[in-house]
């Protein structure tokens, strides 16, 4: 969920304006909007009333968690008289906090750029195991810290994605990983103590991972 906050005030008279906020999901076209396990039967909110100091908070499902792609939220600000001040569109991403006092609205008339400007943790780290199964549906980079020979796999996967694997030896070193048969053209692993191996793969339409280049090695 995304958490949205803000504060209503007035340019005239008292600083607090007990207006209201209404939220609606838009941009889902002819399809029923849906999340990972549900259909959204309700895509509008009742009036959200601020507290006595004008602040408000509400939670919504992030637009990146809703199908079809391309949805956005409209936020209608009403004054205490029930008159609409403005209706703005926003993109809210999952697990993010937004303060509408300082968040720029989204212009739905513009095409969505091919790359979302996300700065989120995309590294999954697993340590000290004999088997690593990384989650390619949530992360794009993976770090395995080996203290023994280990099996490495990655599933589920998204076709077209680039996935980077960082293999780190412990202080002893010498631990050889075994890769699942969905990996192709895997380079040899740096086996030196604390050695680091980095290699990137692309996922094809069959869910197979092909290296895009040879691995790089580094030893501290």
């Amino acid at each position: 969920m995304s958490t949205i906050t803000g504060k209503l005030s007035t340019i005239i008279g008292p600083a607090v304006e007990i207006g209201s906020i209404e939220v609606a999901l838009c941009g889902y076209g002819p399809q029923v909007p849906r999340g990972t396990t549900t259909l959204f039967a309700r895509i509008t909110s009742a009036a959200i009333i601020p507290t006595s100091d004008g602040t408000f908070t509400f939670n919504v499902t992030g637009n990146d968690q809703i199908a079809p792609e391309g949805t956005y939220y409209t936020v209608i600000i009403k004054n205490s008289n029930g008159d609409i001040v403005q209706c703005d569109a926003y993109l809210f991403l999952d697990n993010q906090n937004y303060d509408l006092d300082s968040t720029n609205p989204f212009d739905p008339s513009q095409p969505i750029p091919p790359l979302p400007p996300l700065i989120i943790n995309q590294l999954q780290i697993l340590t000290d195991a004999s088997s690593y199964v990384f989650d390619g549906s949530t992360y794009l980079s993976f770090k395995a810290v080996l203290n023994q020979p280990a099996f490495i796999d990655c599933t589920p996967l998204n076709e077209g994605n680039l996935y980077t694997f960082i293999i780190v030896q412990d202080v002893a070193g010498g631990h050889v990983p075994t890769w699942s048969n969905r990996f192709h053209n895997v380079s040899a692993t740096n086996l030196k103590p604390n050695g680091i191996t980095v290699q990137t793969f692309v996922c094809d339409e069959q869910g197979q991972l092909y290296s895009i280049a040879g691995a790089t090695w580094w030893t501290p």
Binding site: P114, L115, N158, G160, L162, H184, D204, Y210, I212, A213
Partner: protein, 101 residues
Amino acid sequence: MTRPYMLYDSASPIVFDGNVAQCFIVILRNTVLRSRVKNIAPGVLYTFVFHQKGEYEFAWPELCRNTPFVSTEPDSTTVANFVGNTGGYLDAHAPAAVSEE
């Protein structure tokens, strides 16, 4: 998180559109003498994957620079990664990787 990809059959005209995908997967069923690329965003990584179904050759678009050889070994897969540059150019930033099944 998904990185948009596009699947191409080499029997049809091939236009790699950076507005549509960042990963282009080509099933090579014939020799491709001509292909195009458009709408390349500077700084974006684009990945090309060629699944070779015979011994066919592939001619890279003119805007792709430092292009690797696409393997003509049957049932091989060639992966080439580029970075978008200004002027709509694609510059290879790593040697291609060839996998032979």
